[in-house]
C-alpha cells in the first residue's frame, strides 16, 4: 500500500460532514483489498472487518469527513453566501480558492477587499463573518441554474510535499488517521492476530462525533481506540498542548481513556520499540472516543493521536513517519492483546 498516495487521494477528495461519499469510496476500495469484509451503515460509516483469533472485538475509528461550507443564499448579483459545517476560523478563508459542488463542480474564490479601498486601520481588524461571499464568475441566473441552496463547498488545495517526510494539505484532520488505520490493516493482513478488528472510517465527526456513536452501537465492540489528530508544537502553543512532529503517535490520558488500555499500549510500544508521546488531556470531548465510550452499556476506550500543525486550515502539516509508527502501534496491539486482557477490562 502506497500510504503517501492514499494520503494525497483522501486529502484532495471532497467530503464535508454528511456527504462523505468520495473519500468513503476511496477507502472502501483500499480496505477491500486487505480486509475480510467492508460495508457501509445507515449513516455512511465505512466498516471493515479483519478477523483474528477471536480473542475479542476491537474497534478502531478515524473520521473521514472534513469541515466545509454550504450555500445558504444566492444574492441578486450571483454572489454565494455560505454557512459553515464544522469549526472554521474565518481568517483562514480570506482569498481562498473553493469548489462549489452544484449540478457540476464550479471553481470559486472567496473575495478580499483590496488595500486601496480600505479605510485607515481596517487591516487591524479581521473581516466580519457576515461579509464573506464566494464569487464563481457567473451571472445570477446561471448560478441559480447550477447551484442549489444546501449545496456543499470545499476548499481547493493540493497536497504539498515539504522537506523530508512532511506533507501539508487540507483534511489531514482526520484522513491522515484513516491512513494510519490502513497502515495497521496492511500489517494485520500478514499476521495471525489475537483480536478481531473492525476498522471504521467514521462520518460526521466535525459536527459532533455523530457517526462514531452509531457505528459503536452497531459494531458493539469489547474495546475501542479512536484515532484523531492533536496539535503539533508551534510557537505560542503551550508545551503541554503541542506535540513534536516525527517523534511518534501520542497516547492520550484523560476521562475517555481506559487505564488498562493505556498501560497496554505503553507496554506494547516499549516492547516493539515504537516511539510515542504522552498527552494528559482533561478537555475530553471533540473526538470519536467521546461518543464510543458511552455507547450501549459502555465501551472500554482510548485515544491515540497524530501531531498536526495548523489544524482546520488548508495547510495542515504532518510527518508521514508518525502515521507509519502509529499504524505499527495499532497493529501490534491487535496482535498481542489477548482474551485475558479483554476479559479484564470491566474489572476495576
Amino acid at each position: 500500500m502506497d500510504l503517501a498516495q492514499l494520503l494525497k487521494d483522501l486529502s484532495e477528495s471532497s467530503g464535508v460532514s454528511g456527504y462523505e461519499n468520495m473519500p468513503a469510496d476511496i477507502i472502501t476500495k483500499a480496505w477491500s483489498e486487505l480486509a475480510d469484509e467492508v460495508r457501509r451503515d445507515a449513516l455512511g460509516n465505512v466498516i471493515a472487518a479483519k478477523k483474528g483469533k477471536g480473542h475479542g472485538k476491537l474497534l478502531l475509528a478515524a473520521h473521514i469527513d472534513e469541515i466545509g461550507l454550504m450555500v445558504k443564499k444566492i444574492d441578486e448579483r450571483g454572489f454565494i453566501r455560505f454557512a459553515t459545517v464544522g469549526g472554521f476560523d474565518f481568517r483562514t478563508l480570506v482569498a481562498q480558492e473553493v469548489i462549489v459542488h452544484g449540478k457540476k463542480q464550479l471553481k470559486g474564490v472567496i473575495g478580499a477587499k483590496p488595500p486601496h479601498l480600505q479605510a485607515p486601520n481596517e487591516q487591524k481588524k479581521a473581516y466580519p463573518e457576515d461579509e464573506f461571499y464566494i464569487d464563481v464568475g457567473l451571472t445570477a441566473d446561471k448560478v441559480k441554474e447550477l447551484v442549489r441552496i444546501g449545496d456543499m463547498i470545499t476548499i481547493e488545495r493540493k497536497v504539498q510535499q515539504l522537506a523530508g517526510s512532511r506533507y501539508a494539505g487540507k483534511s489531514f484532520d482526520d484522513r491522515a488517521c484513516v491512513v494510519m488505520l490502513t497502515a495497521c490493516l496492511s500489517r494485520l493482513a500478514e499476521v495471525n492476530h489475537n483480536l478481531d478488528v473492525y476498522l471504521v472510517a467514521t462520518v460526521q465527526e466535525e459536527v459532533g462525533t455523530r457517526g462514531a456513536a452509531v457505528a459503536a452501537y452497531g459494531v458493539d465492540p469489547d474495546l475501542a481506540i479512536a484515532v484523531d489528530v492533536c496539535h503539533g508544537e508551534f510557537p505560542g502553543v503551550r508545551a503541554d498542548r503541542g506535540f513534536s512532529l516525527g517523534k511518534g503517535p501520542v497516547i492520550s490520558m484523560g476521562p475517555d481513556t481506559h487505564p488498562k488500555i493505556l498501560d497496554k499500549l505503553k507496554e506494547i510500544a516499549d516492547e516493539a520499540k515504537i516511539s510515542y508521546q504522552l498527552e494528559a488531556s482533561t478537555s475530553a470531548g471533540g473526538t470519536d472516543a467521546w461518543s464510543i465510550q458511552v455507547a450501549r452499556a459502555g465501551i472500554a476506550c482510548t485515544l491515540v493521536s497524530l501531531p498536526l500543525r495548523y489544524m482546520h486550515t488548508s495547510v495542515e502539516t504532518l510527518d508521514l513517519a508518525d502515521i507509519k509508527e502509529g499504524g505499527r502501534l495499532l497493529a501490534e496491539f491487535a496482535l498481542k492483546a489477548d482474551r485475558q486482557f479483554v476479559e479484564g477490562l470491566p474489572c476495576f
Binding site: A297, G298, A300, F348
Partner: protein, 341 residues
C-alpha cells in the same frame, strides 16, 4: 455513616479507584452481588430475582479536581481542571497529587510584588502552578508524573452545627446509597455508584442502559446559596430544611409522578423536603431518564454550600432525612409500582 471516609477519599472523574475500592468494601456485606463495568461504574445488586419494579438508585463517586499536564524545567507543575473548577478557589491552597498523595501548594505572587491593578485580575489556569518543593524537573519526576490527578487536601470536620469537607457533591449521595444497601426491599434494587458525572454525566447512561430499570432515583449533593448577600430568590436550596427535589435542571425534568410521590411520602412521614429553586446544573438523571425507551427518574439532593471548592458545607440532618425518604420511596414503589401519569 461513612461520610468522613468518603469525603476524604480521592476520586477525580475517570480516576475513581480509591473511592470505588472503599465503597465496594462497605456495600459488599449488605448485597447479593457487586460488579464493575468497562467505565468503572460500581453496581451493587439486591433481590435481583424478586418480582416487582426494578429500581435503580444512583450516586456519582467522582469529584472535581485537577490533572497534571506538564512538569516544567524548574520543577513546577502545570495543570488543567477535571470538571468545573473555578480557578479563583485554587489560589493559596494545599493539594494532594497522585496515588501517593504527594503534597503541593498553589501559590501566587506576593502582594508586595504586585502592581495595584493586578489584584483585581483573575489568576487563571495559564497563571497557576503547583509547587511540590522540587528544585527541578528531574526531582519532580521522582515524585509525580504527567497525568497524575490532584485533589483538594481538605480534612473532614465539624463546623458549628454543620459539617465541612470536600466532595460532598456527591459523596453525600454515595453515603446515602451505602446506608440504603442495609435495608430490605420487596423488589429488585440496583445501587449504582457512577463514574465521570463531573465531566459530562458520562457513566450514568451506560449504567442505565445495562440495568434497564423501571424507575430511577438519583441522590446528589446540590448547590445551596443561602448565604451572605444572596437574594432569597436565588438561594436555590437552604441547609437544614431537608433534602431538595429537582423539578427541572439543564439535564432533566424530573418525572412528575415520581416527584409527587416523594412529596406525598415526605408529608405522610413528617420528613422535611424542599424543592430546588433554580434550574441550573445537570445530574446523572439527565442520561438515565433518556436511556433506552425512557425511564421515570427524579433527583433528590443534600443542599451543600460552596460546591466544587475545597470547603463544602452541609447539614447532617438533611442527609439522614434523605436516606429515610429514599427508603420509604423504594418500599412504596415495591408495593404500588410506578405511577406514570
Amino acid at each position: 455513616m461513612f461520610l468522613k471516609e468518603l469525603s476524604e477519599a480521592s476520586g477525580i472523574s475517570s480516576r475513581e479507584q480509591e473511592i470505588r475500592d472503599l465503597i465496594r468494601e462497605y456495600v459488599k456485606p449488605n448485597v447479593d452481588e457487586v460488579f464493575t463495568d468497562s467505565l468503572g461504574n460500581l453496581y451493587a445488586v439486591k433481590g435481583k430475582d424478586k418480582v416487582g419494579p426494578k429500581v435503580m438508585l444512583a450516586a456519582h463517586m467522582d469529584e472535581v479536581g485537577l490533572m497534571i499536564t506538564n512538569i516544567e524545567k524548574n520543577g513546577l507543575l502545570r495543570f488543567s481542571p477535571v470538571g468545573g473548577v473555578d480557578p479563583r478557589v485554587l489560589v493559596s491552597k494545599p493539594v494532594a497529587i497522585g496515588k501517593n498523595k504527594v503534597i503541593g501548594v498553589i501559590g501566587a505572587k506576593a502582594i508586595h510584588l504586585q502592581r495595584p491593578e493586578e489584584r483585581s485580575q483573575v489568576l487563571g489556569y495559564d497563571d497557576l502552578y503547583i509547587d511540590i518543593g522540587a528544585s527541578d524537573d528531574e526531582e519532580a519526576k521522582k515524585l509525580v508524573k504527567t497525568g497524575d490527578v490532584v485533589v483538594f487536601a481538605t480534612k473532614f470536620q465539624e463546623l458549628g452545627d454543620l459539617l465541612l469537607g470536600k466532595a460532598f457533591d456527591d459523596r453525600a449521595g454515595c453515603t446515602a446509597l451505602i446506608e440504603l444497601t442495609k435495608c430490605e426491599f420487596a423488589c429488585p434494587v440496583y445501587f449504582v455508584f457512577t463514574v465521570q458525572e463531573e465531566v459530562g454525566l458520562r457513566g450514568a447512561g451506560p449504567a442505565s442502559y445495562r440495568v434497564a430499570p423501571d424507575v430511577a432515583l438519583v441522590l446528589e449533593g446540590t448547590t445551596a446559596s443561602d448565604v451572605g448577600e444572596t437574594d432569597e430568590a436565588n438561594y436555590s436550596t437552604t441547609l437544614g430544611e431537608g433534602p431538595a427535589v429537582t423539578i427541572m435542571d439543564r439535564s432533566v425534568i424530573s418525572h412528575p409522578g415520581v416527584v409527587s410521590m416523594l412529596f406525598k411520602l415526605a408529608r405522610e412521614n413528617g420528613i422535611p423536603l424542599q424543592m430546588k429553586r433554580t434550574i441550573t446544573g445537570g445530574t446523572d438523571a439527565g442520561k438515565i431518564s433518556l436511556s433506552r425507551g425512557g425511564v421515570p427518574t427524579a433527583v433528590m439532593a443534600v443542599p451543600c454550600r460552596y460546591i466544587h471548592s475545597p470547603v463544602t458545607v452541609m447539614n447532617y440532618n438533611d442527609l439522614q432525612h434523605m436516606v429515610k425518604l429514599a427508603e420509604i420511596f423504594v418500599q412504596e414503589i415495591a408495593q404500588k409500582g410506578v405511577e406514570l401519569s
